[in-house]
């Protein structure tokens, strides 16, 4: 605990990261109660107030059909965080499993698994996702699927290299001499030593998944209207720059705050958990 405080004290930016992340999470969780116009989350039209800049009524202005941008950002955070959490609930475990087995067992297991990983890593992530979304229908579920498919190989690579070096440690030799099972050695001995790096990467990735998901929606391949999404809001508003600047600037800032927050927090965790880059 004292160590935690000390590291936070030495690295005030990680504290800022924690505050930003907490704000984003709170905003998403409390969206139905704190947003000024909860109904603007869906297909609502209010042309009286359409396309207005920031006012006392609408702090961040309104969009082309008169919906409150602040309310839509709060709801969009819900979608973004949900999507990131789903992706990070699936991709890291899959990648970790592949990386652990390849790194510890070696031989043909390593050859087969890591060549598959290399194939995925050789395709630029966004291109892979765009290709998948071109084949599939652009829905939230498919967006999550596409991002997950492009995400797990990075964890496989990370864990593979960690497991490779842990395999040389004396404690693995000790477990082998005792006769412990492969399952025990990989999951109970090696995995705990890889966890700090995995957790750090997951925190950093929360932000990156938000960016990728937003990029997909920006291209019209992600979450579809009328559901609010930060990427599609920026895309829609981009056509009306610079006059109706509030259409893009506020959703853009919202992305920035979330990504920045998770990045700073991830850096702080890296120091706290003692992970070498």
């Amino acid at each position: 605990m004292i160590r935690t405080l000390r590291i936070v004290g030495q690295n005030p930016l990680s504290l800022l990261g924690l505050i930003l992340v907490a704000l984003v999470v709170l905003a998403a969780a409390l969206a139905p109660w704190i947003s000024p116009f909860p109904s603007h989350n869906g297909a609502v039209v209010d042309f009286v107030y359409a396309n207005q800049g920031p006012t006392a009524r609408n702090w961040m202005g309104t969009d082309l059909v008169g919906r409150d941008i602040l309310s839509r950002i709060l709801y969009a955070y819900q979608i973004s965080l949900f999507l990131s959490l789903v992706v990070l609930a699936i991709a890291p475990p899959v990648g970790t499993l592949v990386g652990l087995l390849a790194g510890y067992m070696g031989g043909w297991v390593e050859t087969i698994l890591m060549r598959i990983v290399d194939v995925f890593l050789s395709i630029p992530p966004l291109v892979l996702a765009i290709a998948m979304m071109g084949v599939l229908e652009p829905t939230l579920t498919n967006a999550m699927l596409a991002v997950t498919v492009m995400w797990w190989p990075w964890y496989a690579r990370l864990v593979y290299s960690l497991a490779r070096s842990e395999r040389e440690e004396g404690y693995v030799l000790a477990a082998e001499v005792i006769g412990a099972s492969t399952a025990h050695i990989t999951f109970r001995e090696i995995l705990p030593n890889c966890l700090p790096a995995i957790i750090t990467k997951m925190t950093l990735d929360m932000g990156f998944v938000i960016i990728i998901a937003s990029s997909l929606s920006f291209l019209g391949l992600g979450v579809q209207p009328p559901t609010p999404d930060l990427g599609s809001m920026v895309a829609e508003g981009a056509r009306y720059l610079p006059d109706s600047w509030w259409l893009t600037v506020f959703p853009g800032l919202a992305i920035l705050v979330a990504v920045f927050g998770f990045n700073l927090l991830g850096d702080g965790l890296r120091d706290l958990l003692g992970v070498d880059e």
């Binding site: 082998e176 001499v177 005792i178 006769g179």
Partner: protein, 265 residues
């Protein structure tokens, strides 16, 4: 009674630049309760030899007979249990993310020794037998001194009641005062439990004070084998003599002995 017999054991590694003969045609034996030291420098094949004894590497040719029966390349759980290892670096040999108790308990769980319910008690007794208080079992390796960690390493190796212990430079990472205590502990455990030791080291002064017999390895070959008394009275092989000649000594008696043994007769 002979516990271990090694017959014409060889190990060749095939590399891109041709074969490397790590161990060449080594034959030796160790009796029950005996401490056999294996002495050699880097590249002597002593680690490869130990890995074959432990069943971590398959021999290219030759056989290992333990307790009257040849050991198979795929070791049974019983055979694994009978030959255990203490490593050089106790900091690396204990998993930093697990408590020392969990590291010792792994042995009991793997070999299903005793009742599940009593295993923590067994772990505590195993730790106490090497001089670590039982209630320290919840501690992480990082909170222990080097000597304490090596004691835990010994407790773990002994937890499944092996008959032969392979000790790979067990004290060379320790301070000299700690080394003295660990060597005494190893001697006492051997006496109490009738253990046999294969004691791998490069330190001839340690060998002199702990081993019954000495095997000197050079480039994968066994160049000299004899009782400790013989080796330190009339070393036969030139390489053995040069090793003795390189030992740093601290008193006049040692200096006289070294000068006497190091010269060619």
């Amino acid at each position: 009674m002979t516990l271990l017999t090694v017959k014409n054991l060889s190990k060749t590694f095939d590399t891109g630049r041709g074969p490397i003969h790590a161990v060449r045609d080594v034959s030796l034996s160790a009796g029950e309760g005996e401490c056999l030291a294996i002495v050699g420098e880097s590249g002597s094949g002593k680690t490869t030899f130990a890995n074959m004894l432990l069943g971590l590497l398959a021999a290219t040719s030759g056989e290992i007979i333990f307790d009257g029966k040849p050991l198979q390349p795929r070791r049974s759980a019983r055979d694994r249990q009978a030959i255990q290892l203490v490593q050089q670096n106790p900091l690396s040999s204990l998993n930093p993310k697990r408590t020392i108790g969990a590291s010792v308990r792994l042995v009991l769980d793997t070999h299903r020794i005793g009742d599940r319910a009593n295993r923590w008690k067994t772990v505590e007794r195993a730790l106490e037998a090497v001089g670590i208080p039982g209630d320290m079992r919840t501690r992480a390796p990082s909170s222990l001194s080097g000597g304490q960690r090596q004691r835990v390493g010994i407790a773990r190796a002994l937890a499944c009641h092996p008959r032969l212990l392979v000790l790979d430079e067990p004290t060379s990472a320790l301070d000299v005062l700690v080394q003295a205590r660990i060597l005494r502990l190893l001697n006492q455990l051997r006496e109490d439990r009738g253990l046999a030791y294969i004691f791998i080291t490069h330190d001839l002064a340690v060998v002199r004070n702990i081993a019954d017999r000495v095997a000197v390895f050079q480039s994968g070959k066994l160049v000299e084998l004899g009782t400790t008394e013989q080796i330190f009275s009339y070393p036969q092989d030139g390489y053995t003599r040069s090793l003795i000649g390189a030992v740093p000594v601290v008193d006049e008696n040692e200096l006289a002995l070294r000068n006497k043994l190091a010269v060619t007769p």
